[in-house]
C-alpha cells in the first residue's frame, strides 16, 4: 500500500504571480505523494493523477482574481481532466481560478470590510466524502491559515440553496465570518467530489513547527495535511 501511495503524482501549477506553489508541493511530499511542477503555458499535464492550483496573485489579480489564468493552456487540459474525474484542488487564488473556469459555481469579491486578512482560521469540514476531505470526520473542526483580500464568496440564492441541498458546501467558517462570505461558506465541491476549492490554506499547516497554534503548542498545527493524504487515499481506491 505505501508503494502505491508514493507512486501517486500530484501536479502543482505555477501561473505568473503564483506564490504558494512551493508550499503546495511540499505538502504533497509530506503527505507521501510525488509533487510534479506544471507550468501554466504548457498544456501537457505529464500524466499526473491529480492537480493542485495553489494560491497567490496570478496576473496581479488584474481584470478579476483568477480571470486571466483561467485561459492558460494548462487550464484547458485541467478542465477536461476534471470533467473526467481527476481530483483538482483550488486553494485561494486557485479557488478563484476554478470559479472563473466554471468548474465550481459562485465567485469571490473583495472582503466586505475591504481589508487584507491574515489569520489562523477555524473551519468545519461539512463534507468529508470528497477526494480532498476523506481523511477528516464529518463536522470536524480544523485550523488552517487564511490570507486574502478577495475572499468573499458570493452566489445567487438558488445556487446557494443547491450547494446546501446537495451537500456541496465542503467547509464553513467557524467562530466568526472573516470576509462576509454567503452562509459562512469557506469552500465548496462539485457534485462528483473530485473538484474542491477553498479560500483558506491547508498547505501552510502540514508540518509541526511551521503551522498554526494548536492544543499541543504554538505552530504545532498540521490540520491541513489531511487534504493531501485524502487525495492519495482516493487515488488508491480509484
Amino acid at each position: 500500500m505505501p508503494e502505491t501511495l508514493a507512486a501517486a503524482r500530484i501536479g502543482v501549477v505555477t501561473f505568473p504571480g503564483t506564490l504558494d506553489d512551493r508550499d503546495a508541493a511540499r505538502a504533497v511530499r509530506l503527505a507521501g505523494g510525488e509533487p510534479v511542477s506544471l507550468w501554466h503555458a504548457d498544456g501537457d499535464l505529464q500524466g499526473v493523477d491529480a492537480v493542485v492550483l495553489p494560491g497567490g496573485f496570478s496576473y496581479g489579480d488584474y481584470l478579476r482574481a483568477g480571470a486571466i489564468s483561467r485561459f492558460a493552456p494548462a487550464m484547458d487540459a485541467i478542465v477536461d481532466a476534471a470533467k473526467g474525474g481527476m481530483p483538482v484542488l483550488g486553494i485561494c487564488n486557485g479557488f478563484q481560478v476554478l470559479t472563473e473556469a466554471h468548474l465550481l459555481p459562485g465567485s469571490m469579491i473583495k472582503n466586505d470590510h475591504l481589508h487584507f486578512v491574515c489569520r489562523e482560521q477555524v473551519l468545519s469540514v461539512e463534507n468529508a466524502d470528497t477526494a480532498w476531505t476523506n481523511a477528516y470526520e464529518q463536522g470536524q473542526r480544523i485550523t488552517i491559515p487564511l490570507k486574502n483580500q478577495d475572499g468573499q464568496f458570493v452566489a445567487d440564492e438558488r445556487t446557494l440553496d443547491e450547494l446546501e441541498g446537495e451537500g456541496r458546501v465542503a467547509f464553513r467558517y467557524q467562530d466568526g465570518n472573516p470576509n462576509g462570505s454567503r452562509r459562512d461558506i469557506a469552500g465548496i465541491t462539485n457534485a462528483r467530489g473530485n473538484v474542491v476549492g477553498l479560500m483558506p490554506h491547508p498547505e501552510h499547516a502540514v508540518e509541526a513547527g511551521f503551522g498554526p497554534a494548536d492544543a499541543t503548542g504554538p505552530r504545532a498545527g498540521t490540520d491541513g495535511l489531511g487534504f493531501f493524504t485524502s487525495v492519495l487515499a482516493s487515488l488508491v481506491r480509484a
Binding site: L63, S107, I109, K110, L114, Q152, V154, D156, G180
Partner: protein, 86 residues
C-alpha cells in the same frame, strides 16, 4: 482607428465593497449630496479599421465571456465610441 467601449458594473444585488468605501469618503471631503456609489469598469477596445457590426458583435462576446463574470457583474453597455475627426 475605431474604438468600442465596454462598461461593466457589479450586479445590483451584489454588495459593492469598493463603492461603499467611496461613498463613506465623500462626505469627509464635503460632498454630502451623494447617498450611494457603485464602482464599475470601463474597457476601451481599439480596432485598426472601422467598427463594423461584426466588430461590435465580437466585442459583445468578449464582454460577456472575458471582460465580465456573469455571476457577479452585468455588461451595461457596448458602444461604438470612434471619434469622428473634423
Amino acid at each position: 482607428m475605431g474604438r468600442v467601449v465596454v462598461e461593466v458594473m457589479p450586479k445590483p444585488e451584489i454588495l459593492d465593497p469598493q463603492g461603499k468605501a467611496v461613498v463613506g469618503a465623500l462626505p469627509r471631503l464635503g460632498f454630502t449630496q451623494f447617498s450611494g456609489v457603485r464602482q464599475g469598469k470601463r474597457f476601451e477596445l481599439e480596432v485598426d479599421g472601422e467598427v463594423t457590426p461584426e466588430v461590435l458583435a465580437a466585442a459583445r462576446e468578449a464582454a460577456t465571456t472575458v471582460l465580465s463574470n456573469p455571476v457577479i457583474e452585468d455588461v451595461v453597455a457596448v458602444t461604438d465610441a470612434t471619434e469622428v475627426s473634423a
